[in-house]
Each structure stands twice: as C-alpha cells, then as structure tokens.
C-alpha cells in the first residue's frame, strides 16, 4: 500500500469512516425493522415505492379506472357533470386543431340524424296541420269560436286553454334562507311581476306559513284557478314552478331531481352564497328540464285529413301552374298574331317588337293614312299593356297611295284606278284646266309612278274655247294685190273658214251670255296718198264683210260684223310688219259686254 495515500486522503478518511458507520447503522436499523415487522415491512416498502413513483402510480390507477368509472356512473351523474367541461374543451381544441377526425367520426350518424330530424319535422308539420284543420273546421271549432266570442277572449287563447293539459310557464330557483332569486326561466305565459320580488314574497309566504303553524314544513303547492305554484324546498335552495293546467306526478319527480342535482353540483356555491347570483347562471340547463308542457293530442288515425289537404293543395297548385302556363302560351300566341298583323299592314313598318319592363313594346314607322295599330289588339285583351312608339314616314305602297288618291277632289264623271306598278289610269270626261292643274300633282303622290289618260276625254272650257276661237280668228288674214279691193275666187276657202270661226264664236258667246262684235279691218300699204289708202282699206273691209255675209245668213241677220278702213300710219304704230303684207283684211273681236277688245 502506498504510504503516502493515507496522508493524502487524510481529509476524506474521517468522512468515509462516518459514511461506513452510517451505512452500517442503517443496515442494522433495517435489519431491526425487518425482524420486528417481518413481511409487512417489505410490503409497506413496496406500497411506498409505488405511491412515490409516478409511473407505478399511473399503472395502479389504470388497473381500476374503468371499473371505478362504471361504478360511479351507476351511482349518480356527478362524473358526467365533472367531465363535461373537460370533454367540451377537448372537443373544442381537437376541432380547432383538425376538424376532420371529428367529422369522420360523426359522419355515419349525421345522415340518420338528419333523416330522423326531417321525419320528425314532417310528422310535426302533419300533426300541426291536422290539428289546425281539426281546430279550424270541425264542429268543435265552431263551438269553441262561439264560446271564445262569448267569453271575450281570442280564439287562439281559448284553444290553448281548452287543449292545454299543462304547461310550466315559470321556473324559480330561490335561496331558501334569504329568499334571493338565484335563477329564473320563463316560457311565455302571462307577464309576472319582478321575479326578484316574487321570489322574496314566495319565501315570505313560506316563512309566514311555517311561523303561523309552528312547523318546519313548507308549502308544497298553492293554486289560483287554473294556475298552480309547485314548490320543492331543499336545505339551501328551493325550486318553484308556476304551472298552468294539471301537471302529471312525473313533473313533481322531475322537480325534485332537479333540486337534488343542483344541491349536489352547486353545494359549495349554495353554502357560500353571499348574495351573488351570477354563480348560478349555469343551473339553467337543469331548470330547463322543468319547462315542460303537454297539449291534448289528436289520435294518429285522423291524419288522412292532413294528407287530403296536402293533396288538394298540390292539385290546386298543379292546376294553377298548368292554367298559368296555358294562359301565358295563349298570351304569347295572341301577341305574335298582333305583331304579324301589324307587320303585314300597309303603311306600318315594325322595326322592333318585344317584351320590355312590365309590358309589350312595339316601335316602328307609320304613315298617316295607315290603320290605327291599336285596332289590331284582340278583343280578349292582352294581360300586359302595350307601349307604342311610331315615327312618321310616307309609304308608297299601293294601298296607301289609293287612300291618298281618295282624298283628291275628283270632278264628277272621272274614275281612276291604280295598278300594282303605280300607273294611275284615268277615265271619263274632264275639263282641260283641271287636268292641267292636277297632272303634275298626281304624279307627285307617293306610289303613283305615271299617268295613263288615254281613256280620259279632256274638255275645253267655254271661256277658253272662246279665247281659242278669238286667237284663231285673229290669225285669219286676207291679202289683196296692190290697189285692189276685190276678192278673187281663190279667197273663198279662207272666207268659209272665217265664216265658220265667226259663227262658232257667235254661238259660244251667246251660250256664255256675252255680246261680241267682230270688226273687219281693212289695211293698205304706203303707196299713194293716205286719204286714198284709207278709202282703199275701207273698200277692202267692206268687200270681206260682204263676202262673209253672203256666205252666212246667220251673221248677216245678227249684224255683229262691222267694217272699217285703217290708214297705213296706224299700222306703223301698231306693229312693224313689212308694208307689203299690209294690203290685207284682218279681224278683231270686241266683247261688248266687257268692253274688251282682242
């Protein structure tokens, strides 16, 4: 052994010695324990180790956990109540993290649940419809209506009262000692006073009764006509139900269970209650279990009425849809007919036709002579109004041209016809002046392309004819050789022409009531003296006048002719003709009635 070692470890030696001693002491103590306690000592050590070691402790609990849960669940609902919050949170966390496992898990139950829900909703609808029919149309319904009217309440209220078996309208959770309201639920019904005060008064009444009868018992029930207040009192809280109608016994049992549950799960809050009601808001689900109601239910068998009504309603709806469709088809057809008729009508041009806003709309062009488009609307009126929008235009269609021609003032005896190509055929007898005036304007009527007046006899007017004859007469001149005043045989045809013209003139003037006088004027050239020439002119005029009167006894008899000789000077002034042609006789017509000379 190294001699330096004990010295070098000098400091540790004493500690080592102590440790050895202590170990020896412990071992001795353990030996003593095992001698005294025997096998129990070992078991105690095992139990202690298991309790201290978390892994072993977990193992121990896991061995009995499911049995413990089962046993406690059979005993009461406290485990479910304790776990509900944890389960809620776990579910919430799980869905937040990934909703798909929950969705997958509940998927198989969602379908049946929805189907069941729909089935129940339909059942409920059928029931309520059936009930409505029963209450609305049956003899009993009429009886009830009459009684409701007599009692001065609404029919609905009366029906509720008649069919209501019972209904819990109010639930009070009241602190027994102070009478403070801990929670309150209401399900319609009549308005009650402030629930806090009602709760205080309920407690006061209960206290009063206990005091008055010197009993620790409380009031369980009190009734007011069809209203009943059921009170269940526990050590710390009481539940009071305001019930209308006659509740079944099961309601009392339910009420008692709810009170017990609240005492079980809120015992700490109830014991420590110092006036703060917010701790009891969570009791609402328990109290809701008391909000029960029951109505008189009609027997299931009478559901056929509901089915009948549904079928009837479906049939009515089907009929309505069918007639509506038919009606709209008919309307559409009518409208197409109207548009088609308007399109075919001369003088109307449809540019656009259709449905706009809340009615029909037609826009287009319209000639003033076209038929009023509204007259195309059928007698069985269209269901919707029609809005017209027409711009004026001039149509050249033959039908419209004919209407325009009808507006022309035609003289009697004239007939006309327009053919398809726009040729206007005129026939009959017409005066020249009318024809002259109208010829241009007729061709300008749209639709009239040209005039055919072959069948038209154009008559001259008397005045015009007279003027024509005057002009003809004025053109008649008879010429003489120099110094001669005798007519030759060759002049006879001209004399006869002049006679005819003058006779016509006389006849026409007489018809027209005019008095004419014909001046036969003789003229001479400048050869010779003026005096001689005037005499020669006179002779020439007399020669012609005699010739005329020889040819026409009429003219001779009437004496409308007169002769006069003119000097050549006169002729110079009047017109500058060649003097050679001045050896002549011409004719002037003087209208004595108008003092007019031509």
């Amino acid at each position: 052994m190294n001699p330096t070692l004990p010295r070098a470890n000098n400091g540790n030696e004493s500690a080592q010695n102590k440790s050895v001693k202590a170990t020896a002491g412990k071992t001795e103590f353990q030996s003593l324990q095992s001698i005294i306690l025997g096998r129990d000592f070992q078991q105690l050590q095992d139990i202690s180790r298991q309790l201290q070691n978390p892994v072993e402790r977990t193992h121990l609990v896991s061995e009995v956990l499911s049995e413990a849960v089962r046993e406690r669940t059979q005993k009461d609902d406290s485990l479910a109540a304790s776990l509900s919050e944890t389960i809620d949170r776990s579910l919430q966390k799980s869905i937040e993290k990934d909703p798909s496992p929950i969705v997958d898990a509940i998927f198989p139950v969602i379908g049946p649940a929805i189907r069941k829900s729909i089935r129940e909703t339909l059942d409920g609808m059928l029931d309520s419809l059936n009930r409505m029919l029963e209450l609305g149309l049956s003899f009993r319904a009429f009886q009830w209506r009459f009684q409701a009217w007599r009692s001065g309440v609404s029919y609905a209220e009366y029906v509720v009262l008649k069919t209501l078996v019972y209904k819990v309208e109010q639930v009070f959770l009241i602190h027994t000692e102070t009478g403070f309201l801990l929670n309150h639920l209401s399900d319609g019904g009549e308005d009650i006073k402030d629930p806090h005060i009602v709760s205080g008064m309920l407690t006061a009444i209960n206290d009063f009764v206990s005091d008055a009868f010197n009993s620790q018992q409380k009031i369980n029930t009190f009734r007011l006509q069809d209203m009943e207040v059921k009170v269940t009192v526990g050590p710390y809280a009481m539940v009071a139900l305001v019930v209308r109608g006659s509740p079944p016994d099961t309601l009392g049992i339910r009420q008692q269970e709810v009170l017990e549950d609240i005492h079980r799960f809120y015992s700490k809050q109830l014991k420590q209650f110092r006036g703060n009601e917010s701790a009891f808001e969570a009791t609402t689900p328990y109290l809701e279990a008391c909000l029960q109601s029951q109505y008189e239910r009609p027997p299931k068998k009478s559901r056929w009425k509901a089915w009948l009504v549904i079928l009837l309603l479906l049939a009515l709806a089907g009929y309505w849809i069918f007639t509506d469709y038919r009606q709209s088809q008919r309307q559409q057809q009518l409208w197409q007919e109207v548009v088609s008729s308007i399109t075919k009508e001369p003088g109307l041009v449809v540019v656009e036709a259709g449905f706009e806003g809340a009615g029909y709309r037609v826009s287009g062009l319209k000639d003033v002579y076209a038929r009023d488009p509204t007259t195309f609307l059928p007698e069985s009126a269209l269901a919707l109004p029609v809005q017209w929008s027409w711009s004026p235009f001039v149509s050249s269609e033959p039908e419209i041209a004919e209407k325009r021609l009808q507006k022309v003032t035609w003289p009697a005896g004239v007939s006309w016809e327009l053919d398809g190509t726009g040729v206007l055929f005129l026939s009959g007898r017409v005066e020249q002046s009318w024809f002259d005036a109208m010829r241009a304007s007729l061709v300008h009527i749209p639709g009239v392309e040209s005039l055919n007046s072959r069948q038209l006899l154009i008559e001259q007017e008397p005045g015009q004819k007279l003027r024509q004859l005057v002009r003809t007469l004025r053109l008649q001149q008879l010429y003489f050789p120099r110094g001669e005043s005798r007519l030759s045989e060759d002049d006879l045809p001209e004399i006869i022409t002049v006679v005819n013209v003058i006779e016509s003139l006389h006849q026409l003037a007489t018809e027209l009531g005019r008095v004419l006088s014909i001046q036969v004027r003789g003229h001479s050239d400048q050869v010779g003296g003026e005096r001689m020439n005037v005499l020669l002119s006179q002779e020439r005029a007399d020669e012609v006048l005699n010739a005329i009167e020889q040819q026409s006894s009429l003219l001779k008899r009437t004496g409308i002719l007169e002769s006069s000789g003119f000097s050549y000077r006169y002729q110079e002034v009047v017109e500058s003709r060649a003097l050679v042609s001045n050896r002549r006789v011409d004719f002037y017509v003087i209208d004595r009635s108008l003092n007019f000379q031509e």
Binding site: T178, D207, F208
Partner: protein, 163 residues
Amino acid sequence: MKQRKICMLGTSSVGKTSLVRRFVQSVFSEKYHTTLGVKVDKKIVKSDGDPVCLMLWDIEGEDRFYRIKQNYLRGLAGYLLVADGTRPVSLDAAIRLKSNMASAFRDTPHFLVLNKSDLHDQWCLQAADIKKIASAGFTVISTSAKTGENVEQVFTKLVELIN
C-alpha cells in the same frame, strides 16, 4: 349582480312603508302587510360603481311583546329601525325590537331612523330619550318620507356599511 336583504323594523305608524315607497316603485299592494306582516320590494342601487340589488323586507312584525318573526330576518345584511320623533314610545319600541332580535342578527349593520323630520317642531324627545339612544349605541339618522329628506342617503349609507 349582488343581492342584499335589508329589513325595515319598527312599530306601526312610524313610516316604514312610506320610507320604502319613497325609495322604490312598489309592485305589490300594501295589503300584504296586514295579511302576511311583510312586504318585499326591490331597488337597484350603485355601490362602488357596481349595481347592488336591495331586497327590502318591510316587516310589520311586532306584537305587543315587540317580537319579530325571526324567519323573516334570515339572511339579512342590514336593517333599519324606524321610530317616529313625535312619539317617544316608538323609540322605546325600536330599542325593544333590537333587544328582542336573535343575537346573530342584532349586530349586522343598522341605523336608527328617526322619521317625520318634517314635523320637527312637534318632536317631543326628552333628554332621557337621547340618553337611551346613546347608551344603546345607535347611529341615528333623521329622515322625512314626506319631503324625501335623507331617504336615499340612509339606504346608501347602509349599503356602504354592509359592503
């Protein structure tokens, strides 16, 4: 919301009901006093900014031995002993009422309310009466249900004392 039960105590005709009526809008008829001997009313007041629901139990409750139905006092947070300044006997009654209360209730916050301060000139309290009040350790507040004087304040102070 916190709830507090306050009892109004005192012999008849001292004005308890008038004080409550001045303080709250009553829901129930006064006839409950004669049938039940108690009428409950409610008033919401603010204390330190928080609403407090005061349940006011107006207890008619004394017989000729000045006993109160102790059931009505259960859970009370404070009480007002009401006396009429014009009737010294009502003061005696108030003192007797307090002494008849169960010891558990006796020391909860309370005031002695001398009502009818509007008739102050008709008050006939003697020196002995004042001595009695002082020896009984009352905090006295004079009110008038008629004019409203101190009515709000007496309740507010009681609430402050309770909280």
